[in-house]
């Protein structure tokens, strides 16, 4: 009807989603994982029809180049020219933070994936954002759950910038809650060539565990091995990264830590589907760290739309999404009402060598339930 056109809703319409990701630069592989995951997620959630309530779903990807001003440019383009109903992204916390005010301004839902900064759902929170990615605190809590216990002495080692500080702070809180003692917090220039002085200090503090918060390619694993920390009775623990980064962790075989995702860890149908489809389509490649995140983001959008019957009005969506649970490759996720952070499972793992796999494999010790890894509310 004529009125339908004016109102701009009704069947036959398309729903547009704009995905921001780093498709070039240092974070490019993360961005591409998100992209694949998102595509697969839509397909899964709509049973291949790419429609919800008769409305077609269309996705536009934009490269933020990991530069905040580009992210804002691209987000505006998505909101204005493409007229997207949802934003998804992005690979870096900086880009994501820069785009958040736009979501608020345009009153569009933004699914944050896979940026981890606590401040996104903390001090910088606005009601239009929902995060399917886990945040630094969840990582930290999981990390603590994997090793902390009464009387355990732990030293931490992290890069000297927000990511490291956030991670250590959250870890410390969680670990101390579990009765552990943090004997040393060591931070290093992430671009440094030499970490041995830091490691020296860690050796002197004589902890039971060294918990490492790390991201970025320039990693300390070799030097940890060279400095024989393990021989000195210091057990190493950290989060298992994506597969390319796992391949440089050979020296850490045997380590216990946590994982956000590895394709063999979750045991559920969604993940089985993901692994199968991904390997089929991409030349035998398995999904990696952020693929399930992208998929989860897509699923959450489709699930919400199903509940609003295709309505894209933000307030309506917020209402259904707050507290919404949905099935993802990582099991059931729930958007916490207070800060819209998706509570989710993480995994306590051990790195093991496996026949035929050219990198150390995270092997499940136990799944850490969403309740266990629930981070404090910070907004």
């Amino acid at each position: 009807s004529g009125a339908g056109e004016v109102e701009g809703s009704g069947s036959g319409e398309t729903i547009k989603i704009g995905v921001l990701a780093s498709l070039t630069g240092a974070l490019e592989s993360y961005g591409k994982q998100t992209q694949r995951g998102f595509d697969l997620g839509l397909e899964y959630a709509t049973d291949g029809s790419m429609e919800v309530n008769g409305k077609k779903i269309e996705v536009v990807y934009e490269d933020t180049e990991t530069k905040p001003e580009v992210a804002v440019q691209k987000a505006t383009k998505l909101l204005e020219e493409d007229g997207v109903d949802f934003l998804v992204g992005s690979s870096s916390s900086g880009d994501t933070l820069a785009v958040l005010p736009l979501a608020e301004e345009y009153e569009k839902i933004m699914i944050v994936e896979p940026a981890v900064a606590d401040s996104i759902t903390g001090s910088e929170f606005n009601k239009y954002l929902f995060r399917t990615a886990r945040n630094s605190s969840q990582d930290a809590v999981a990390g603590a759950a994997a090793i902390a216990g009464e009387g355990v002495k732990i030293a931490t080692f992290a890069p000297d910038y927000s990511f490291g500080w956030d991670g250590v702070k959250a870890f410390k809180d969680a670990a101390e809650d579990l009765g552990a003692e943090i004997v040393l917090e060591e931070y290093a220039d992430p671009a440094a060539t030499d970490f041995t002085a830091n490691l020296q200090k860690i050796i002197e503090s004589d902890p039971d565990y060294l918990f490492v918060v790390w991201a970025g390619a320039n990693s300390p694993w070799n030097q940890i091995a060279d400095m024989k920390l393990q021989d000195k009775g210091i057990k190493i623990s950290t989060g298992a990264p994506d597969i390319p980064a796992l391949s440089v962790m050979e020296p850490l075989v045997g380590m216990e830590g946590f994982s956000v995702y590895y394709h063999t860890l979750p045991d559920n149908e969604v993940n089985d589907w993901l692994v199968k489809e991904h390997t089929d389509r991409f030349d035998g490649e398995v999904p990696d760290l952020f693929t399930p995140g992208g998929m989860s983001a897509a699923i959450s959008i489709v699930e919400a739309l199903k509940q609003t019957e295709g309505e894209t009005d933000a307030d309506q969506l917020i209402e259904v999404m707050e507290g919404m649970s949905f099935e993802t490759p990582k099991g059931t996720m729930t958007f916490r009402e207070e800060d819209h952070q998706a509570l989710q499972s993480l995994y306590a793992i051990k790195l093991e060598e496996q026949e035929g796999v050219p990198y150390p494999v995270p092997v499940l010790i136990r799944e850490l339930s969403p309740e266990e890894t629930e981070p404090p509310i910070m907004n």
């Binding site: 498709l23 490269d63 905040p68 910038y161 927000s162």
Partner: protein
């Protein structure tokens, strides 16, 4: 001052008018935002040109002034009421702080020679970056923080016009500055510092002035930048910003002021369209390669920058006049002919 409206000025006014009217006939917000970014980076690049093009100083630390402006404005708007008044105040505060810093930095470092100066500024900017990273209570480290822009800028057209206005004002101010007696001396310093001194000019004063002027306007650009994003993080202090300013200035043509504006335009558009192509054509997935090639070709085809190229084309057209510049005084030849 525009009494003689010669060709160049005429065209500049037309372009400015078209840009000012742009929001009336286009509602493409993407284009508005892209143009706003171009205006902001043009201001930054022009401020850099005062150093590089006019005074002959290569600085690798220009980002620190941009960053000072960006953070000052962001912090003030975040902590206080985000009103227009606060916005103006924050710009003034940023410019003041940047001015003071560039004054001190100038006194401290401008005695150093070429590469050593460049590297020293890089060190200073590096220290500012570390400070921005470490002073987390205020800056929230490299994650950064968002803040509210004044209500007035809720409509981005207003911000677009504000940025355009700033660009025009800065352009006029700087054009006048470089064409003033003082600006002439800056050029003399670039050409031959020691000789400038022996003509009775205190060269350090000029270099410090250039550094302060450059710092102040870089800070203005930074303030506008952070408001355009309503967000700030440590990326405003990084080498990338300095390199952007440097590249824009060089591509456009050093020592021209119009050059940096053209450079900013070319780079922003090239980046925008090349990365856009990546979505549509797989071979542009690695569009950064093409972007790099743009730089290389720029040097090959416009070794003196775009403006330099224009000038050359013009000179060639009036080639005969140029040849006549070689003043001949064929007295002797005439004499020789007389003598047989």
């Amino acid at each position: 001052m525009i009494s003689k409206l010669q060709g160049k000025n005429f065209w500049l006014i037309v372009i400015a008018a078209v840009l000012a009217a742009f929001p009336l006939f286009s509602d493409s917000r993407t284009m508005t935002i892209l143009l706003t970014q171009i205006f902001i980076f043009s201001i930054l690049a022009m401020s850099y040109d005062i150093l590089l093009g006019y005074t002959g100083i290569v600085s690798f630390g220009h980002a620190m002034f941009f960053g000072v402006g960006a953070y000052t404005t962001a912090v003030i708007l975040d902590r206080m009421e985000p009103t227009l008044g606060m916005f103006l105040l924050s710009i003034a505060a940023g410019m003041l702080i940047a001015g003071i810093i560039s004054f001190i930095a100038g006194l401290l470092t401008l005695r150093l020679k070429s590469h050593f100066y460049a590297m020293f500024t890089m060190a200073l900017a590096g220290l500012f970056l570390v400070a921005a990273e470490k002073w987390r209570a205020v800056t929230n480290g490299n994650d950064g923080f968002t803040f509210r822009a004044p209500e007035f800028f809720q409509d981005r057209t207003m911000f677009y016009l504000t940025a355009l206005g700033c660009l025009i004002v800065v352009y006029l101010l700087l054009s006048r500055f470089v064409a003033s007696p003082m600006g002439r001396v800056l050029i003399a310093v670039r050409e031959n510092e020691q000789r400038t001194a022996s003509l009775g000019y205190k060269t350090l004063h000029y270099k410090v002035t250039a550094s302060v002027v450059a710092g102040i306007f870089a800070s203005l650009a930074g303030s506008l930048y952070s408001v355009s994003l309503r967000f700030v993080n440590t990326s405003v202090m990084t080498m990338d910003i300095t390199l952007d300013a440097l590249l824009m200035t060089i591509i456009g043509g050093v020592g021209t002021l119009i050059g940096p504006i053209l450079g900013a335009t070319v780079i922003e558009f090239a980046q925008h369209y090349l990365s856009g192509l990546a979505r549509d054509y797989p071979i542009f997935e690695r569009w950064i390669i093409f972007f790099g090639i743009v730089y290389i070709l720029a040097v090959v085809f416009f070794p003196q920058g775009i403006v330099g190229w224009f000038r050359q084309v013009r000179a060639k057209r009036s080639g005969k006049r140029a040849a006549a510049l070689k003043a001949k005084q064929p007295v002797l030849k005439a004499k020789a002919e007389e003598n047989g």
